[in-house]
Each structure stands twice: as structure tokens, then as C-alpha cells.
């Protein structure tokens, strides 16, 4: 079982998140591996452990700071870390990013075939959930998204997913791109031994040239969308907070009535 997990370097949810020049501000201090990618790493590790053999690769795309994301994956127990870093990638939209990731996946797949690429259900900065679909299309592999359960047998992956209107079971032949939700598993905590080993573990760094990609295909220039304005929203004005001394329910109702909401 050979699995590649994509991990993204995103601002910590508890930090003050912001935009700089129309792009999400990413810094070494506040950056971390996207929390939902922990479920993807966990899913990969569990499948390999259950199979009793195999390898897990963690791949990230981003500037030098993004290496923190694959280091976190190493701490959790992945075997190999890959980092695609090239200034020309900055400002890519989801389609540019998918091209880069697909090229890196193909490079690994050519060395020895992969069975799965596993991703998180969304990155908690952009929250578009579009990358798994774009990646599956780029690779022309099977696509199984939003898995709350995942199993692999006889060359086929099967997932369960909970949509608003239906619970579905879907199956598709390997190789497949699978995205897993935060319901799929409970991510493990890194142990001390792995934390120490992750510090020294080698990280393979690739540029666009290494992947045979033309810089003009990716980056801000090729992006189909541009953020033209980003501004912080002012906090809600005129907030009221009351402590119940016996009539807060009535006060609450009166507030709703006054606002025309009840």
C-alpha cells in the first residue's frame, strides 16, 4: 500500500488571520499544518498499518515556511516528506495548485505506483474544498470525496459520505484521490521519539523545473481569479449582554420583537 497525503501550510486558527496584497498572510510563527489534514495523515497511516506493509508520503506546496506542514506529518509518522517550492507558484489558484500537485504525484507514481492520494476535506483558510476534485481531474484518477469512512480491498476503494440529503456509499478502482472528513478518524498525537526524528528527517525539495512544469502555467499570472480587495470587518456594534436575574428570557424576546425577528 503506497499512499501520498497532501498537506497544506495554513495560519493557525487561533491566530489573527489576515490578508497581505490579496493573499492569505502566512508566517512561520503562526503557520501550521492545516488541522483537517491530520485526518488525511491518520487515514493513510491506518490503511498502511492494517495492510501490514506500505509507505506514506506527505507532500506540501508553498514557500520555505511551508516545510512546517510536512515536518508535522513526519511527527505523526509518515515515511517521506516532499516539498514543492518555487517562487513562480505564488498566487496560484486551485487549478494551478492542482497542476503542481498532480505533477509531483506523477513523479512519485512513476518511481513506484501509488494506490491512493488522500487529502483533507478542506483547508481551514480558504475552505473551498475544490482541490481534491481538481487534482483527481488533473490526474485522471478516480475521485471519492468527503469520506467519513474509507476502506480498500481488491484494488478498489470504498467510502461512505454524509451529505445534507443522503448518506452515500461510493466505490471506485485504484488509484484514487480520496478526501476524508474530520469524522473519518481521530488523529493521533505525535510521540517524543517521532518528534525528535522528524527534526532530522530529510525533506525532498522540488522546483517547477524538477517537475517539468512551465512557470507560465501556474502562479498569479495564470490565476483565473484575483482578490481585488480584502478588508477586516468591524466587530458587531451595540452588543448587549445581560445576566439573568429572572427576566432575561423576556428581555431576549423583546429584543427579537423589536428587531422584527419574532
Amino acid at each position: 500500500m503506497r499512499i501520498l497525503v497532501t498537506v497544506k501550510h495554513t495560519p493557525d486558527l487561533q491566530s489573527q488571520r489576515s490578508f497581505t496584497d490579496g493573499r492569505v498572510t502566512r508566517s512561520a510563527e503562526d503557520g501550521t499544518m492545516n488541522e483537517l489534514d491530520e485526518n488525511a495523515v491518520e487515514a493513510a497511516l491506518q490503511l498502511v498499518e492494517a495492510a501490514g506493509e506500505g509507505e506514506v508520503y506527505a507532500l506540501t506546496v508553498g514557500g520555505p515556511d511551508a516545510v512546517a506542514a510536512v515536518r508535522k506529518a513526519l511527527q505523526l509518522g509518515v515515511n517521506h516528506a516532499l516539498h514543492v517550492s518555487d517562487e513562480a507558484i505564488a498566487g496560484s489558484d486551485v487549478f494551478g495548485t492542482a497542476k503542481v500537485i498532480a505533477a509531483a504525484v506523477r513523479k512519485v507514481h512513476e518511481e513506484a505506483p501509488l494506490d491512493l492520494v488522500i487529502t483533507g476535506m478542506a483547508a481551514l483558510d480558504g475552505l473551498t474544498s475544490m482541490l481534491p476534485t481538481a487534482l483527481a481531474a488533473e490526474l485522471d484518477w478516480s475521485q471519492l470525496t468527503l469520506a467519513s469512512a474509507l476502506s480498500v480491498s481488491d484494488g478498489e476503494a470504498t467510502i461512505e459520505r454524509h451529505l445534507a440529503d443522503a448518506h452515500e456509499t461510493l466505490a471506485a478502482p485504484l488509484p484514487a484521490v480520496v478526501s476524508v472528513t474530520d469524522e473519518a478518524n481521530k488523529p493521533r498525537f505525535p510521540n517524543f521519539k517521532l518528534i525528535m526524528a522528524a527534526r532530522k528527517a530529510p525533506v525532498t525539495v522540488w522546483t517547477l523545473g524538477d517537475l517539468g512544469l512551465d512557470p507560465a502555467e501556474v502562479g498569479a499570472g495564470a490565476s483565473r481569479t484575483t482578490v481585488v480587495d480584502a478588508s477586516p470587518r468591524p466587530p458587531r456594534a451595540d452588543r448587549v449582554k445581560v445576566t439573568d436575574t429572572g427576566d432575561a428570557g423576556t428581555q431576549l424576546a423583546d429584543f427579537l420583537i423589536e428587531k422584527g425577528l419574532a
Binding site: L13, A164, T169, A172, R224, D229, A248, G249, Q251, I257
Partner: protein, 316 residues
């Protein structure tokens, strides 16, 4: 801008309110045409689409379009001439939008709160980072695909509405690698689905698993019942009710948080709501930071009193 295709969301043959909101938005960008996946709509449904401005209803009888790649081909065939395609943003339509964009070279924005034409290009606006930032995005590509959130446009009938012509679009849907092994429909309550509801009343840890008061308040306010991750993890209520970044993102006119502390994951799924009201025992609960009206108190005391007052007011 000439033609704007709108993927119509429909349930049990009826057009949903978000679909009418999307048609209303589409009218501000050009001439809407409705794209309908599934069996031919009833005359009533087609009339309603016409009333909200659709000049045509393009029907692709692809009822098994649950797989994104097939749905994208179906929508693509019905929107070849469109400069913009509007969908209601859901996990499923995000996949359809992505596939359609790859097939057509379109630029995509999902989870938008609105869109307008600026110098012939579609620009969208939306809130991000748990509704702490406003972002405006220009779609540079010739074709624009916009996923809009429910409750972000007021649905209004067109001023000069005509009858919509129903057109059948024939398309060969591709074979896909993915196969649907089983589909188990989720039982729908009588109220609007969570994402579409104009009012959402949510319960969290503070309910201790008792959703009766939360449901009562939701009923009185004409809203849907939501929940925090804590509550769904406890098994107190099913996953479909979860409001949050990884559950359902809601933007109702009124959000009432009962016994919910307001962890960042929850806030990310509701912070863009119109008016936020919260009840929590803990005066330091983060939910109060984003509440227009907060009550530090016990929801088992506060909710019954509020319901009584609302009923009293309505009777008077």
C-alpha cells in the same frame, strides 16, 4: 453580459428558495436561463422559474447526476452559451463547479455572498476567516462560475416576467470510474433545511442532550434546529444538524446559540449570520464576543420565558 445559467436546486419537484435567490442574483448580471437536472419540471415549477426571470428552462434528464463529473457534463451542455453560471454553494456543487471550470476554462468563486458586473467582468464578494474579513474577487476568465450561499440575496420576482420556454437538452453522459453502491436518503424535517433556513436555533453542550426547548424555540421562530460539534460527537443529535466549518455553514437572518461556547470551528460556520443571540452559563464564553444579544444564564430558564413572551406578544 448576455446569458447567465442558473443550476436550479429542486426538492420533490419543487423549486427551493435558494434557487429563486440565485435567479434574482442572475438577473442583475444578465438574462437568466434555468438549468434543471432530472425529470422535466412540472408546469407550476416552470412558471415559477419564469416569474423569477428565467427565459428558458433547460432540462437535462440526468437523474443519476450524483457523481460530480457527470453532473458537470450535464450542466456544461446546458450552459454552453452562458457567460456566467450560478449555483447554490454546497459540497456537491463545489465539485460540479470545479469539473465544469476545468472543462471550460472558467474561473470559479464558491461561498460567495453576491456578485456584480464591473467593467464586463464578474466580481464576487464574500466573508472569510470566520466572517472576520470581507473579500472581493474578480473573475479574470471569460466564463465565470459563482457558487452563492443561501440567504445572501432577497428573492424577488422579475418586474417584467414572461413564461419560460422548456427545452430538452440531450447529452451523452460519460462513463465514470466511481459507482454509487448505496444511497440512503436523510429524513427531512418539516422545516427548511439548515443551510436555507431564515432562522437557526442551535443547541450545544449546555443542553445536556435535551433538545426539546431548542426545538420548541425553533418552531416558534419558524427556524431549523442546529447543533455544535460537541453535541453531534456525543450522539445527542445527528450530523446533519452540525453547524460549523466542517458541517453546515449557515447565514440566517437570526441565529440563536443555546449552551454553545463558540469554539472557532463553530463560529466559522455561523458568524456571518444577520443577528446573533446567545444563551450561556459561562460569562466568558467566546460566543458572547460575536453576539448582538447575549444572556448569561441557564437556557432551561431563559428559553421557556422567551417563548412565553413571544406568544404573549403575538396574541396581543
Amino acid at each position: 453580459m448576455t446569458t447567465v445559467a442558473v443550476l436550479i436546486d429542486h426538492r420533490d419537484g419543487a423549486v427551493t428558495r435558494p434557487a429563486l435567490e440565485a435567479l434574482t442574483l442572475a438577473r442583475s448580471l444578465g438574462t437568466p436561463v434555468a438549468v434543471w437536472l432530472g425529470e422535466t419540471p412540472s408546469a407550476d415549477a416552470a412558471d415559477q422559474l419564469g416569474e423569477y426571470g428565467a427565459s428558458e428552462v433547460r432540462v437535462v434528464d440526468a437523474a443519476d447526476a450524483r457523481v460530480a463529473s457527470r453532473a458537470a457534463v450535464a450542466v456544461g451542455a446546458a450552459s454552453e452559451d452562458a457567460d456566467a453560471v450560478i449555483m447554490i454553494s454546497t459540497f456537491v456543487t463545489k465539485e460540479v463547479a470545479t469539473r465544469l471550470a476545468l472543462a471550460t476554462g472558467a474561473g470559479v468563486v464558491v461561498d460567495a455572498a453576491g456578485a456584480e458586473l464591473v467593467d464586463g467582468k464578474v466580481e464576487t464578494f464574500q466573508t472569510v476567516f470566520a466572517a472576520t474579513w470581507d473579500v472581493r474577487t474578480r473573475i479574470n476568465a471569460d466564463k465565470a462560475i459563482v457558487g452563492v450561499r443561501p440567504n445572501t440575496t432577497q428573492a424577488t420576482p422579475a418586474e417584467s416576467a414572461g413564461a419560460a420556454t422548456v427545452v430538452e437538452v440531450s447529452v451523452d453522459l460519460p462513463e465514470t470510474r466511481e459507482r454509487v453502491v448505496a444511497v440512503e436518503p436523510v429524513e427531512q424535517s418539516d422545516s427548511a433545511p439548515l443551510a436555507e433556513a431564515p432562522v437557526v436555533v442551535s443547541g450545544g453542550r449546555g443542553t445536556n442532550g435535551d433538545y426539546s426547548l431548542v426545538s420548541d424555540l425553533a418552531e416558534v421562530l419558524g427556524g431549523a434546529v442546529g447543533a455544535s460539534r460537541d453535541a453531534t460527537d456525543e450522539g445527542w443529535i445527528s450530523h446533519e444538524h452540525m453547524v460549523g466549518q466542517t458541517g453546515t455553514t449557515v447565514t440566517p437572518a437570526l441565529y440563536v446559540a443555546c449552551g454553545i461556547s463558540g469554539a472557532v470551528h463553530h463560529r466559522g460556520g455561523m458568524q456571518a449570520s444577520g443577528t446573533i443571540v446567545s444563551i450561556n452559563m459561562d460569562p466568558d464564553a467566546p460566543i458572547f464576543e460575536i453576539s448582538d444579544f447575549g444572556v448569561v444564564g441557564n437556557l432551561f430558564d431563559v428559553i421557556p420565558q422567551a417563548i412565553e413572551r413571544i406568544k404573549e406578544h403575538r396574541a396581543s
